[in-house]
Symmetry: C2
Subunit: 511 residues, 2 copies
Amino acid sequence: MFSKARILCPVLKQKVMSAEAAAALIPAGANVGMSGFTGAGYPKAVPNALAERIKEHNTQIDPNTGEKPFRINVWTGASTAPELDGKLAEVDGIEMRLPFQSDPICRDRINTGKMNYVDLHLSEVAPYAWSGFFGNMDVAVIEVVGIREDGSLIPSSSLGNNKVWIEQADKIILEVNYKQNARLEGMHDVYYGTALPPNRKPIMLTDPAQRIGEAYLRCDTDKVIAVVETNSPDRNSPFKPSDEVSKRIAEHILAFFEDEIKRGRLPAELLPLQSGVGNIPNAVLEALDSGPYKNLTSYTEVIQDGMLKMLKSGTLAMASATAFSLSPEGIEEFDKNIEFYRNKILLRPQDISNHPEIARRLGVIAMNGLIEADIYGNVNSTHIMGSRMMNGIGGSGDFARNGYLSIFMSPSTAKGGSISAIVPMVSHVDHTEHDVKIIVTEQGLADLRGLSPRQRALEIIDKCAHPDFKEQLRDYFERACASGRGMHTPHLLNEALSWHQRFEETGSMLA
Amino acid sequence: MFSKARILCPVLKQKVMSAEAAAALIPAGANVGMSGFTGAGYPKAVPNALAERIKEHNTQIDPNTGEKPFRINVWTGASTAPELDGKLAEVDGIEMRLPFQSDPICRDRINTGKMNYVDLHLSEVAPYAWSGFFGNMDVAVIEVVGIREDGSLIPSSSLGNNKVWIEQADKIILEVNYKQNARLEGMHDVYYGTALPPNRKPIMLTDPAQRIGEAYLRCDTDKVIAVVETNSPDRNSPFKPSDEVSKRIAEHILAFFEDEIKRGRLPAELLPLQSGVGNIPNAVLEALDSGPYKNLTSYTEVIQDGMLKMLKSGTLAMASATAFSLSPEGIEEFDKNIEFYRNKILLRPQDISNHPEIARRLGVIAMNGLIEADIYGNVNSTHIMGSRMMNGIGGSGDFARNGYLSIFMSPSTAKGGSISAIVPMVSHVDHTEHDVKIIVTEQGLADLRGLSPRQRALEIIDKCAHPDFKEQLRDYFERACASGRGMHTPHLLNEALSWHQRFEETGSMLA
Ligand SMILES: CC(C)(COP(=O)(O)OP(=O)(O)OC[C@H]1O[C@@H](n2cnc3c(N)ncnc32)[C@H](O)[C@@H]1OP(=O)(O)O)[C@@H](O)C(=O)NCCC(=O)NCCS
Ligand SMILES: CC(C)(COP(=O)(O)OP(=O)(O)OC[C@H]1O[C@@H](n2cnc3c(N)ncnc32)[C@H](O)[C@@H]1OP(=O)(O)O)[C@@H](O)C(=O)NCCC(=O)NCCS
């Protein structure tokens, strides 16, 4: 098919085959570990071929025999792309999915009860898989940039859980993607010092720029059952310029940083930044880039367009992550100037990029999105109206719980102003009142550190709520306080979730 | 008053005074850091004298002048005792309390809105205080066993946040308690390697038995404004023998451990045990002690009676904690055989006993109580009916989030069977679905690892719910699934909290 130019290992050269032939080696019911993190470095051909096979198989099932449909369990790093999650979900080929997804078809299957979704802290997937908590991994399907003579692998545009899948799987299928820049070689830092307790050792990382591992993935070539050559780009979403709301949120955060520096609670170079993906995080990065900052660092999950710009301008000295998440223009910029970026970016396995030990030690500033927050500071990052899954908790809990500052941000309303992001009681909790330090909307920033729940309520309503909902929130809070049900976290149980009910009944949370 | 026999430092000998004189040095509005953790090592005299002063002052306030009452903010390690929390709360002398309490008068003040309570992860108090997140500490009041010639301090029966308070406070008051066993000297391990980011280093602890610090608390004698001599025992609650329900819970946990060992997911010596205080944890310790286990270790917050017995029998090789929490008989046993126990117990500062880095590395087995859990695995440890504070989250989040296994346990019902500990939706979340691995009641054990929310619901209802509530829970779950609102975490918003409402209206959650 291709040249085998990137497959230098003689044994593995022998195992090159078509995606269809490789997909035929994955049995029904298998636990399959796939590469892929935020639309980067996922296998491009085998999942698609497998989906075709599944479709064909399942349409031929005679409903009278009771034969079970062909399905697999899909474990990844994080979200992938339509070629993987979308294709497999479309043919109802996924029985169970972990630990994160953001695919519209997957989401539909999850929310209609056709797929089990196990939504996990991203740092915990590797150790729990190692501990055997999820069962045995049958097959790993991993995209790489190339295979070296000794069988070791040049990782692709994401590392995610690849190291663990390769170690744990009984059998391995490799996809060598010629579209990925060969100069990614050397940008990875694969740490081989992890172990199960009682044999764990300190992880000696004290600086985001520090290397503690190897540039390649070790691989037992005996376990490799197929090598497939591909030539497809990562599916990246185009970059949207910041809107007004995002810019205002960014301004509030910048003003907060400035004030913290003045009070001596943050150093002038801040602390390593972790930042979720999306419009608002990108606006924060842009704002930082046009501010007075120099030599910042990031210790995060993904490298976005904004970070490339910050590296170029010198605002950011270096970025540590587990994956890229660039727009097509971002990719172009990266490929063109890869020699500049190569020694300023390090990709690590996700159990290291998100490790609680490191997040705590480095004192990461965690900045993540929220779906809704309540007046007492509990945050819902995952569920729409308490029941429907949006994406998943991802790494937000890893960083929010153990970082130096946890910042959660969102527009103050959704769906054209009919939904308030600040509600009396969140319909689901991903980050508890104990873990949320700062909440920001375009309206303002609430600093919750050292406040009791009632004090937080006043701060959040005052600073973050949209004017359309402020009075309604105050009214709830005051009546809850007056109810005599308990003044630590005053609530009216029959009204706590009534805003969500009202939205479902009338299309608006407005009373 | 006493002999000054335990005050070897000449300068500090000069500063001995009465508790009343010392209490007079604490100004109204002060942030006061007190020693004390689970009823051990709290100051016995100064808080009481201060309470008297506050009472006298506040009764003399002319209500027409608008003069503010005398109040202070009280920061401790964890819960203290009636002589501290009780006395100060009784005179309404506490404006704000952090990070944990379990005192009935305090609780009443919190729940009637007379006291602000900031309920924090215990591991985070020290770093956040250092970071300046709670403001400046004016005075520290610390119980010690003795003062050495160079002014360094022999810590008492708890370490808690003492190191930080002594470092951070502008002024220090010491209470030297002659009732505390002088042979506590040498049982502490005070780690002086912590720092604020970006200067944090790995904490090189890899074994619960390992020493990484010093036996004494450093103290700047210039900051000491008073030394008070006392002779009072820690106020300890008597030991209750395990009841049937606790024994059944312990049996389920023991059977689970055995099975995990068989499956190769736990070593024969288990992993370091963390265990909350109370009836059920003690029953688990007793059960372990009568099982086949040898050379277990514990990495926990408090040493309870059960641990002394396990040390004696050899079931436990050593115990690391931050405080004692012994019954009067436990204290007697400890004092009588202190030479046996001395080198088998280490007390550490609570930021080290509960440190996420260490809990993760050692792979702690976290066993803590719950007030209620919902069918999807969210746990409420703190709030009664969503609004009233019971105690606080304590260290449960430190261990549950970062340990190897998080086990939450409770009788399946409360208040004579009228309350189900398993509910459709918890009225407050302290431990999210992402953090809860195992739930146990006397009915059985639910293993939630690798399950989606709907799978968890079936497991929890089947294994943990009381028979009186099983059908009612199944009915809720089935109707929620049928509602079409979303199948990831099916809920009926208008009924999710109805069990709590029903209890408040009728005195029972039974439909
Ligand atoms: C919370 C999260 C969904 C916000 O995403 P975002 O893209 O920044 O925010 P948006 O405002 O565009 O909202 C996304 C969608 O949710 C909807 N939404 C937002 N708030 C809502 C609410 N309170 N109720 C209902 N819908 C809401 C929006 O309308 C939008 O829907 P649409 O796609 O149909 O238009 C996202 O940050 C996330 O998945 N977080 C969890 C994982 C995480 O934190 N990862 C980062 C660190 S690893
Ligand atoms: C959750 C917690 C309160 C359970 O305490 P416990 O003493 O083991 O449990 P009990 O069953 O005796 O319950 C304590 C009280 O709560 C009440 N209670 C328990 N469940 C209840 C529920 N679902 N609704 C209302 N009341 C409830 C009990 O009736 C009892 O009340 P009483 O004192 O008036 O009789 C306790 O473990 C705690 O405070 N946990 C949080 C901190 C923590 O985990 N620390 C340990 C690690 S650091």
